[in-house]
């Protein structure tokens, strides 16, 4: 069973949508595993000014995407890079064991969007690896 925070994010997800001409977009997961997350970031002067997501997946996948976008807005790129799946889970008061992978997917989606940003800008971001080609 989900925590009340998870349920609340499923009921009223934050930042659903897409950003035209986003600074970075990342898509992770596949339909076979049942989860696909796409995260859009607007970045100005190294600060994430907006984040949106589209997710195909279970309730936990929606909640982790929603929480992750909420967490990154206002952060610098470097601060955002430090967000882990653990932080996402804490923000949601935890996840059932079979759903922990959804929080990892949220972290991966964020990293994929930041990677896309770094490629577009031609900059090197310390600690960021290219996303796995699923």
């Amino acid at each position: 069973m989900y925590s009340n925070k998870v349920l609340e994010h499923i009921d009223k997800p934050r930042n659903v949508g897409e950003i035209e001409n986003a600074s970075g977009v990342g898509t992770v997961g596949n339909a076979r595993c049942g989860d696909i997350m796409r995260m859009y970031l607007s970045i100005e002067d190294n600060v994430i000014t907006d984040a949106k997501f589209k997710t195909f997946g279970c309730g936990a996948a929606i909640a982790t995407s929603s929480a992750a976008t909420e967490m990154v807005i206002g952060k610098t790129v470097q601060e955002a890079l430090k967000i882990t799946n653990q932080n996402v889970m804490e923000a949601l008061d935890g996840l059932p064991a079979p759903k922990v992978h959804c929080s990892c997917l949220a972290e991966e989606a964020l990293h994929a969007a930041l990677w896309d940003y770094s490629q577009k800008q031609g900059i090197f971001l310390e600690g960021l690896k290219p996303p796995d080609k699923g």
Partner: protein
């Protein structure tokens, strides 16, 4: 909790009031162990026999002594397959079943494979039906058991049990059917269908949980899987669950009495639900052939994932499922839907509504009102739907 619309009757059903009332004395005043020999135990003992007669009559068994009470449909399935496989090991170690059985059958077969048995898993067609000719051609000299589900639990599709029974009997192979979703919902006739072993479970037809039965045709060789006392003709040990068994007997009797009328009522409700969903929601697909048990609706919604649909339905007080409740913690797509050839994406977006005797037309109206905005909300959130729309542009 506010309003609840329960449409998951294939998962379990509530105990009907008359059944509960009939069970209660056997928790209290008439608590005696029916195996005891004093007169105080004679009433529970007599009621146990009465329940056996009711079950036998409901499935068309030749005698009440062919009914054995167990603790669950899962136990009945385990016992039937494992018991028959080991009792007939001198003939061979080959079993035939299908790829879309309940896990109670599939996991038993998997376990038998680890004991050196060989199992053939037949695939249903895309409408969810097993072809009897496939069963026939899979039979070998060393085949001892055929196990085919009577009504598939996720799709509701009725299998050609009579034809398979005829084939099995003529080839001298023991035929088991998991009829947990069939009994007291559609006519079941073990003699007419040449069934040797049949599993049924009380909680699927408004009886209590934790009590079930296995029909074992007289003369069929089967070993026990639970050892201990001499209950159930020395074939299934364990103190009788007297109130549960009495509840099973009552539930099956009430179920049979109203089966025909209830099937007609449920079919009407089901038609309304299906028509409403198919007309109101684009990119929805109804799964399974129309030869089905009443009340079960299995529909795939493209571009979205079923668990999130269930979460949002839950917020509206609607209880449905994405397949078997026994497997709801699994992250895998339903093995039943993959067996009928669906893609993972499509299988992942599938919801089952199963109507029951307490559902009304207003429940159907409520679901038809709640569902379309839920599907729309999730599609608007889905990157797959985005990609689809972009591809169309």
């Amino acid at each position: 909790m506010k309003k609840i619309v329960y449409m998951d009757n294939a998962a379990t059903t509530p105990v009907r009031a008359e059944v509960l009332a009939g069970m209660l004395p056997y928790f209290g005043n008439d608590f005696a162990n029916p195996a005891s020999k004093y007169r105080f135990a004679s009433k529970p003992y007599a009621e146990l026999d009465e329940a056996r007669v009711k079950v036998a009559s409901a499935i068309g068994a030749a005698g009440a002594d062919e009914i054995y009470f167990t603790g669950s449909g899962t136990e009945s399935d385990n016992w039937a397959i494992r018991g028959a496989a080991f009792a007939n090991i001198n003939k061979g170690k080959h079993i035939i079943t299908t790829a879309f059985e309940h896990h109670a059958v599939l996991e038993t077969c998997k376990n038998l494979e680890s004991h050196g048995f060989e199992v053939t898993y037949l695939l249903p067609d895309k409408n969810g039906r097993i072809n009897p000719a496939d069963v026939e051609s899979a039979i070998r000299a060393d085949t001892t058991v055929i196990s085919v589900i009577f009504v598939n639990n996720e799709l509701g599709v009725i299998q050609p049990i009579e034809e398979i029974g005829r084939i099995a009997r003529s080839r001298g192979v023991i035929f088991h059917t998991d009829a947990v979703q069939a009994v007291a919902h559609i006519p079941v006739d073990v003699v007419g269908c040449n069934i040797d072993l049949l599993s049924l479970s009380a909680h699927k037809f408004y009886g209590p949980k934790g009590v079930a039965a296995l029909y074992i045709r007289k003369g069929v060789k089967i070993e026990p899987i639970i050892f201990g006392g001499m209950q159930e003709g020395n074939k299934r040990a364990g103190t009788h669950n007297t109130p549960g068994i009495i509840g099973l007997g009552l539930a099956i009797e009430y179920g049979l009495a109203e089966m025909e009328a209830e099937a007609e009522r449920l079919n009407k409700l089901r038609s309304k639900l299906v028509t409403g969903i198919m007309q109101g929601i684009p990119f929805a697909k109804l799964n399974g052939s129309e030869n089905r048990a009443p009340g079960v609706v299995n529909i795939s919604f493209r571009f979205i994932e079923s668990e999130s649909i269930l979460n949002l339905l839950d917020f509206k007080g609607i209880c449905a499922s994405s397949g078997s409740a026994c497997n709801s913690d699994s992250l895998e797509a339903s093995h039943v839907l993959l067996a009928i050839g669906m893609s993972h994406e499509e299988a992942n977006g599938t919801v089952r509504f199963s109507l029951g005797r307490y559902n009304t037309e207003s429940d159907v109206d409520y679901v038809l009102e709640a569902l379309p905005p839920i599907i729309e909300k999730l599609r608007n959130m889905s990157p797959l739907y985005d990609d689809f729309l972009r591809g169309k542009k």
